[in-house]
């Protein structure tokens, strides 16, 4: 709502009754939300255990003893995911920023760079991650690299950084494009060079604007890290797969999912929060359902 107007007109009875109405509406909405949630939960809790083979499903997917047994191994394996995530993320950001800058270059002489950057993002985003992991993870070491430079962990991470930098570069590019042309004009008229304009005026605004979609890409990366296991390293999903086969029980996957959620939920909530904050800052109005 438009705060200024509201505050100024706050004492008038007509608007007070509007406020009252809005409050009632809000209360009603949350009541409906609570009741519908309860109904769905109750249905699940009451109905599912009455299904004929629930006992078998429970044993196969929610075996408490199996959870306890697998948990330490899975947490151990999850460290590898965290490590891959930790060293690919900075690489992705640096690479993506360079590509976005290349695509945004304006000098006519740099046309080949722009074209190359465009082809790079198209190809990286157009080809499935799995293929890049196989191609780079097995293909590059297959050219004759010796240990330790042929490590699947190294080249699997490179493949991830390559594909994700394609996505992230587009996010950066959108951010850069969203900065109004007048900002550049003002900066240039103040005597800043083209490079300085980008560095001190455009990029700081652009990056702040794209923080939510960047975090979104990170959430997605955090899951795709598991694909590195296709070329050998045992990370959490692979460990869950091994345990599943060993015990003929799918519970380890549930445990792995919970570990993933423990990381992704805070990350997505943070994204939501940042997005809302930005919405409030930029639009300042909200229409109720």
């Amino acid at each position: 709502m438009a705060l200024g107007l509201h505050r100024r007109a706050g004492h008038q009875p007509r608007l007070n009754s509007r406020k009252e109405h809005e409050r009632r509406q809000r209360r009603r909405s949350s009541l409906i939300a609570a009741v519908s949630t309860l109904v769905v939960l109750a249905a699940v809790i009451v109905l599912v255990p009455r299904m004929p083979r629930w006992d078998r499903v429970k044993k196969s997917f929610f075996d408490v003893e199996q959870m306890r047994d697998s948990l330490p191994r899975l947490i151990d394996a999850f460290w590898l995911d965290v490590k891959i995530f930790a060293w690919t993320t900075p690489a992705i950001f640096v690479l993506a920023l360079l590509i976005a800058l290349a695509r945004n270059s304006r000098s006519p002489a740099l046309f080949p760079v722009r074209a190359l950057a465009a082809v790079y993002t198209d190809v990286m985003r157009g080809v499935p991650v799995i293929l890049w992991i196989y191609l780079v993870g097995f293909g590059v070491p297959g050219l004759g690299l010796e240990r330790p430079y042929n490590s699947p962990l190294l080249w699997g991470s490179v493949a991830l950084a390559m594909t994700y930098s394609g996505y992230v570069a587009e996010v950066f590019r959108a951010g850069i494009a969203s900065v109004h042309e007048s900002q550049r004009a003002a900066a240039r008229s103040l005597g800043l060079s083209s490079g300085q304009t980008m560095r001190f005026v455009v990029l700081p605004q652009a990056i702040r604007r794209v923080v939510p979609p960047l975090l979104n890409d990170l959430v997605s990366l955090q899951k795709d890290v598991a694909l590195v296991s296709l070329i050998g390293p045992i990370e959490i999903l692979r460990q869950a797969n091994i345990d599943k086969a060993k015990f003929a029980n799918f519970t380890p996957f549930i445990v792995a999912a919970l570990i993933f959620l423990a990381v992704t939920i805070p990350l997505t909530r943070l994204t939501d929060y940042l997005w809302h904050r930005q919405q409030r800052r930029t639009t300042g109005t909200r229409v109720a359902a």
Partner: protein
Amino acid sequence: MKRSIRIRVLAASALALIGLAACGGDESSSECPTITEGKLTIGTGTPAYYPWVADDAPESKQGFEAAVAYAVAGELGYADADVVWVRTGFDEAIQPGAKNFDFNLQQFSITEERKANVTFSDPYYSTNQALVGYADSAIAGATSIANLKDAKFGAQAGTTSLDFITKVIQPSTEPFVYDDNAAAKAALEAKQIDAIVVDLPTAFYISAVEIEGSAVIGQFPLSDAVGADNFGLVFDLDNPLAACVNEVLASLKESGKLAEIENEWLSGYTGAPVISLD
């Protein structure tokens, strides 16, 4: 888990007492029920590999497991025409829902852990582990696992071979794990691993057909830590048909028929140098 095993043993012996005659030839008997009356539905891998199933066509009765399946079916009283094949992956065979097969055979190793979720028959084949690698690799010619400590190993996910690497060979670096032989082959070629560990007949098949230039570097004797790799037929948990099939397997062993089938399909797959466990 213990209790359920005891119950199963009780049930099995009770069935054995009551149902001996019934299991001999009367397939519609309630003691040996099948999912489709009058038919025996058997699951196998997708695809199924030689020498277990020849040409991915179990109906041909060619290949060790195909031949065993038809022998079991025959002893249970099913004509060849009454045998129906379905294809499942490993996961479909162990999922908790109703099964679309009476039993499934695709080199499932019998382990205590798995018994909590599926029922196994008695073993129809026992094998040991073997190493496949390039003949010019650093570990070719190894005679003892002491020579293998610094080598890098690969295994297929969810196999007993992986257990064998971590528990018996105990190499200095963690093994790598692959979904299939194609990935293991690529890793061998990229020199990311020195060898893969698989059961012996599979080792011979992979080295001869799937990975050109590779060889069976050696086979391992059985160990206490990881016993023989015993293959069993997989049934839905507590399926009473398992008891009937066990009797049939016992009689196939006694009559020498099982050994005959093994001889026909797997006899060429035993001659590899032995790598000692010291």
